[in-house]
């Protein structure tokens, strides 16, 4: 009987993994190593940083969730091709640290490819850490199936103390939808090789909410500012960035009509609503200026004089492809890099040539660790 109960106990533990993974406020990130590591050592020169929402390697595939599309699962060969192109471009940029959003590590929609491992194995980056944002055994909607997607930090140098920091869940969803929905996060890691004497060096990656119509976005930015503030107050250095799903101060805030799919209708009410989720950036008081606290305190890779210029737009929605002669390929800035250190003057760049590889464009800059 004792034996039987022991076996049953083991079955209960092993066979009762949560169907949908929920997270503590703070948990460990998943660590990765490249299978073939390059011998990168920091030589006191500058550090190149990139942020890129890679759209789980599906490039411009008309995915049902965000691009007026109606398909869900891309074929393995095309994913491999897209990921190879992303890896090639990361190699061209020769980044020391890459902050990635929307990376799949075991999802039906992308053939269960571990994209963090793939990028480590096909670039000159050696170490990674990953924090899931959407992890479930099965999403029984639109054929999504098994999903494990999130944020990742890749680096030439070893990462330690990697943490997944939970961001508040949306409150504008019913309980069932929320259970199966995304759990957005910040992933933060220390890079000891880049420490400057007593100052530790941190990389912080975020993907804030896109579709919330309540104040979730404000909560996400507040938490982000708090995490960065703690590092700064401790006298340490950080580079940070990600897809903030927010436009810069002074930007256009209403993209409902330009993002509208052929079967949708917006701005029909007297108060100019309804608005399209994810395309309207004035849902609550202060949303248009939500990023001001970051610009006020930290240094941005793309400075305030340039952040609303078309050459720094980072989001290329699918509707930009409907008519090349009248639509704009990229029409807003959603992706950012900041530091409490100093960027090399003029090194900030938005890589709009990668338009075909994702619906977001990478932003890069070079950190001058000496502050010269």
């Amino acid at each position: 009987m004792k034996k039987f109960l022991s076996i049953l106990g083991v079955l209960l533990i092993l066979g009762c993994e949560p169907f949908v993974t929920e997270f503590e406020d703070l948990s460990d990130a998943v660590m990765y190593d490249a299978n073939n590591q390059s011998t990168a050592t920091y030589d006191s020169s500058n550090v190149k940083v990139v942020t890129w929402n890679i759209r789980f390697g599906i490039a411009r595939f008309p995915f049902f969730g965000d691009s007026c599309g109606d398909v869900v699962i891309l074929d393995d060969a095309t994913i491999e091709e897209n990921m190879a192109a992303i890896a090639d471009y990361l190699n061209v940029m020769d980044a020391d640290i890459v902050l990635l959003q929307e990376v799949d590590v075991s999802s039906k929609r992308t053939g269960y490819m571990d994209q963090v491992q793939y990028l480590l194995d096909h670039t000159n980056l050696n170490y990674g850490c990953y924090a899931p944002m959407w992890k479930a055994d099965y999403i029984a909607s639109d054929g999504i199936g098994r999903i494990d997607a999130g944020n990742a930090i890749l680096s030439k140098y070893k990462l330690t103390d990697a943490e997944r920091i939970q961001l508040r869940l949306r409150t504008d969803q019913d309980e069932l939808t929320q259970y199966f929905y995304l759990r957005r996060n910040i992933v933060k890691a220390k890079i000891p090789a880049l420490a400057q004497e007593a100052q530790d060096f941190y990389a912080v990656d975020i993907h804030a909410t896109a579709f919330a119509t309540d104040d979730t976005k404000q909560q996400h930015i507040n938490k982000y500012v708090e995490v960065l503030g703690d590092i700064d107050a401790n006298g340490d250095i950080f580079i940070t960035g990600g897809d903030l799903n927010s436009v810069p101060p002074g930007s256009v805030t209403d993209f409902c009509l330009s993002d509208m799919c052929s079967d949708e209708s917006f701005h029909t009410d007297a108060d100019s609503g309804p608005h399209k989720e994810g395309s309207y950036f004035d849902n609550f008081v202060g949303e248009p200026d939500i990023l001001v606290p970051l610009y006020d305190v930290y240094n941005s890779a793309i400075d305030t004089a340039s952040y609303n210029l078309p050459e720094h737009f980072t989001h290329a929605p699918s509707t930009g492809m409907i008519d090349d002669t009248t639509a704009t390929m990229y029409d807003r800035k959603l992706d950012y890099l900041f530091t409490n250190g100093t960027w090399d003057s003029g090194s900030g760049s938005t890589h709009q040539g990668t338009w075909e590889l994702s619906d977001h464009l990478p932003v890069s800059s070079v950190l001058n660790l000496g502050g010269e």
């Binding site: 066979g15 109606d70 099965y138 639109d142 054929g143």
Partner: protein, 276 residues
């Protein structure tokens, strides 16, 4: 063809042993007795040597039929053969949709598919324990383009539908049943479903021997049964599944309630009647 089937059935007809409440054994239902459960098929003892069964609720969206035929005793075991046929296409196309319950992505149209399965069952009572061994071959025919991305990668389902993607599979299992008291019975079963060489095409690119071997599912069930009468019984217990899936190995204790994140015991009610 009809003649061959008729001849085959005739030559294999042997009056076998009959037994109540023993769906997974080589024993057939007594003639004119039917049994069914909440989650079990409707079974009917057509004669002393033929029993048939269908899943009545599933039948309209997934036509299915099963025939058990008694065979000559083999090595001291009561023996029977079992043949199953299922046409899953209508149901699969119902769940290949946008929104909930979109189990399969809406871009996939499932072609007509036919599943055939043949099993050999051998049962024996050994020292008060009923032992049944079974094994057989599964064939899956798809009459059209079946996209490999349309698999449903969850326990219990993946390997059963995997036969259509892999064209064939094998299954084997063991059932042990013991009466604890006059009213209570315990059942232990272990089943293996195997899809050989599922990764044959991939091996040319990625020489991983495990992919060449194929994908398996090992299912184990332990049930405690309260036999209220000859016509009604209640079953409770658990099912444990472990196997190899496209995403790797996985195991799960069932039934599992997602939002509560807990296992709950199986509760199965079964009814029977003897037709006069």
């Amino acid at each position: 063809m009809k003649k061959i089937i008729f001849y085959f059935i005739l030559t294999s007809l042997v009056f076998g042993e009959t037994k109540k409440w023993d769906a997974h054994s080589a024993y057939l239902l007594p003639q004119k007795r039917w049994e069914m459960g909440l989650f079990q098929p409707f079974r009917y003892g057509y004669s002393e040597s033929i029993e048939y069964s269908v899943h009545p609720l599933w039948f309209f969206v997934m036509p299915n039929f099963s025939l058990k035929i008694s065979q000559s005793d083999f090595a001291g075991f009561t023996s029977a053969s079992q043949y199953k046929m299922v046409y899953p296409t209508p149901f699969l196309n119902m769940i290949a949709k946008k929104g909930i319950p979109g189990i399969i992505a809406p871009e996939f149209q499932m072609p007509p598919m036919l599943g055939l399965s043949a099993s050999w069952l051998m049962s024996k009572n050994m020292a008060g324990v009923n032992l049944t061994l079974n094994g057989g071959l599964d064939l899956g025919f798809a009459f059209g383009d079946l996209d490999t991305r349309s698999t449903i990668d969850i326990p219990l389902v993946y390997h059963r539908l995997g036969v259509y993607y892999n064209k064939w599979g094998i299954h084997t299992g063991l059932d042990v049943q013991k009466n604890l008291t006059q009213k209570f019975t315990a059942v232990f079963d272990l089943d293996l479903i195997f899809l050989p060489m599922t990764g044959l095409a991939e091996v040319q690119i990625d020489p991983d021997a495990s992919k060449l071997m194929g994908e398996y599912s090992l299912e184990h069930k332990l049930l405690l049964i309260w036999n209220k009468s000859e016509n009604f019984r209640v079953l409770t217990g658990y099912k444990f599944v472990m196997g190899e899936y496209p995403y790797g190995s996985d195991m799960r204790l069932l039934p599992y309630i997602p939002m509560v994140e807990t296992w709950v015991p199986i509760i199965e009610l079964q009814w029977a009647r003897q037709k006069r």
